[in-house]
């Protein structure tokens, strides 16, 4: 069953077009990597999906429903969650309060505060800390936990390993195994192509706002990927 289906999506910033006729799909329980160079339009694409960018044309279906014109706050309630680039935590809220913001959408499911603390034990000890008192990796855990608290059917993760220590990246990617066990579908935006391919079923590569390659993660060769990545 297809969970997310995007056809012929164009996204604009004013007069500037960032995404050109994009087609994209994610099946239920599937995990997809979205790779591409800086400026390829990955973040723009995710933000357009969740409704944070208004200037978009095309067809976006989520869970059988057209959502291209749905405002972000309603899309969230349908079960499309996002871990935004740069984490974007609420700076004046404690770790626990940040996580509880995920509950505002009132979606029930497997993810509750205790479950998130099980997944990331480091957060339980620091539940009353402010985000700025945490390490970058711990902040990323809060961002992921906050999105999980919405119990999304599809979770979009934007550059979650950016700027983190390798050991932290390992921990976070380890958590994805547990997340997928709950049946959550995933889209991972990554710069690290190898890591992305290792953690997912399928790969999309974006180049200048267009899909330059889609392949099963196991089948794709390094040469193909490099070509699609740099457009050579």
């Amino acid at each position: 069953m297809t969970l997310l289906e995007v056809e012929d999506l164009n996204v604009f910033y004013g007069d500037l077009q960032a995404i050109f006729g994009l087609a994209f799909s994610v099946a239920e329980r599937e995990s997809v990597a979205l790779v591409g160079a800086n400026g390829a339009g990955k973040t723009t694409f995710l933000r357009a999906l969740v409704g944070l960018i208004d200037g978009k044309q095309g067809r976006v279906r989520f869970d059988g429903r057209d959502i291209q014109d749905t405002p972000a706050e309603h899309i969230a309630r349908l079960g499309l969650g996002m871990v935004p680039e740069g984490r974007m935590l609420f700076d004046t809220l404690s770790v626990e309060e940040n996580l509880l913001m995920g509950q505002v959408s009132r979606r029930s499911g497997a993810w509750t505060l205790p479950r998130v603390f099980d997944l990331f034990p480091a957060l339980e000890e620091r539940r009353n800390h402010l985000p700025r008192q945490l390490s970058g990796g711990q902040q990323q855990m809060v961002a992921i936990g906050r999105a999980l608290m919405c119990n999304p059917r599809l979770l979009l993760c934007d550059e979650i390993s950016l700027g983190l220590a390798p050991v932290m990246v390992e921990q976070i990617y380890g958590a994805f195994k547990n997340i997928r066990k709950e049946g959550t579908a995933l889209v991972l935006v990554e710069q690290d192509v190898k890591r992305a391919a290792g953690a997912t079923d399928r790969i999309y590569c974006l180049l200048k706002g267009r899909v330059s390659l889609t392949a099963n993660a196991g089948d794709v060769s390094v040469t193909e990927l490099t070509q699609a990545y740099f457009g050579m």
Binding site: N38, G41, T44, V189
Partner: protein, 335 residues
């Protein structure tokens, strides 16, 4: 450029001939319009080009007026010769208060200016040597030729309005003006290319205060009488602001259009329809609010764009807000 020079010359000629073209009532009215226009341009210079919204510009109207009355009476000099004192006094006051006020940003600057104005108004009201709350008559008015009083005031007002517009026009075409507008459009970028933001703001603030002071002095010279309630009336800044808001902030043409609407509406509501000044302000404020909601930069920018008009184009136009959602503000970092 040539067209602008010609229309400028025609306007100047009309102003010279004004006293013979307009009746006595018309002349007074025209004088008032021109003075308010000059004040609005000065407020616009500060808000539209330097991004500093002042809610206390009435203080400069008052200081200009009191400065003129005090010096003219003390030295027993014709008020015409003392007029330059008014902008000078305002410039000095502005330079001094700029120091604490420039530490504040946006609304905090705006209201602190207002508080300053209230303080000065209260001190003047309490000062017996300034006539207290009753105010001062212009004793040196006996030195004036009253036959020519109204025409001369009209000429001064006309010169002031034309001078401010011409001066601003030239200023905005100069390197200083370009620097100013680049600061307004993008603080950081302008600073990184070496525009001294605080210095520019300071100069504009002082100029704006001086211009308002001169217009205020001429206005109260026309009344031959000044009182603190009238001179420091918050409505002065309300008028300036509404004119600029309605006409178009950060443009030279905007305040002209705004002044026409301001007085047109006043004549319509208070004169033709016979409503009170309070209702007039209600109507004016409603118009301003609606214009703001419809076009946050006032009437002139959309009119200009729609009809391709160019009256006093200064090479660069005020920026329209880019249609970029806040989250996507950093377009350079598209993933």
């Amino acid at each position: 450029m040539k067209g602008i020079a010609i229309s400028y010359a025609v306007t100047a000629a009309l102003l010279v001939a004004g006293p013979w073209l307009l009746g006595e009532g018309g002349l007074r009215f025209a004088t008032e319009c021109l003075l308010i226009l000059a004040m609005a341009q000065m407020w616009n210079l500060l808000a539209g080009y330097a991004g500093l919204v002042s809610f206390g510009h009435q203080v400069f109207v008052g200081i200009g007026a009191y400065g003129l009355f005090l010096i003219s009476d003390t030295l027993d000099l014709s008020p015409y010769w003392v007029l330059p004192i008014a902008p000078l006094a305002c410039a000095v006051v502005a330079s001094v208060i700029a120091l604490p006020l420039f530490r504040l940003r946006e609304a905090y600057f705006s209201i602190a200016m207002w508080v300053f104005s209230e303080i000065v108004a209260a001190l003047v009201t309490k000062a017996a040597w300034l006539g207290g709350s009753a105010g001062l008559p212009l004793r040196s008015s006996r030195l004036l030729d009253l036959d020519w009083f109204e025409p001369v005031l009209f000429w001064i007002a006309g010169g002031l309005a034309l001078g401010t517009i011409g001066g601003l026009f030239l200023l905005m075409r100069s390197g200083f003006g370009l620097g100013l507008m680049s600061v307004r459009d993008n603080d950081l970028a302008a600073m990184s290319v070496g525009v001294d933001v605080q210095r520019n703001r300071f100069i504009v603030f002082v100029l704006s205060a001086a211009g308002c002071g001169l217009a205020g002095a001429v206005s109260f010279l026309g009344n031959l009488y000044v009182s603190p309630a009238a001179a420091f009336d918050v409505n002065w800044v309300v008028y300036m602001m509404f004119i600029v808001m309605i006409g178009g902030i950060g443009t030279l043409e905007g305040p002209i259009i705004g002044t026409v609407i301001f007085f047109g509406l006043r004549e319509l509501i208070t004169d033709q329809l016979g409503y009170s000044a309070g209702w007039y302000l209600v109507a004016l404020g409603t118009v301003a609010v609606i214009v703001m909601l419809w076009s946050p930069r006032g009437l002139w920018p959309p009119l200009r764009d729609r009809f391709g008009l160019k009256l006093l184009g200064v090479g660069r136009t005020a920026p329209t807000a880019p249609d970029v959602p806040p989250l996507a503000g950093k377009v350079g970092q598209l993933g």
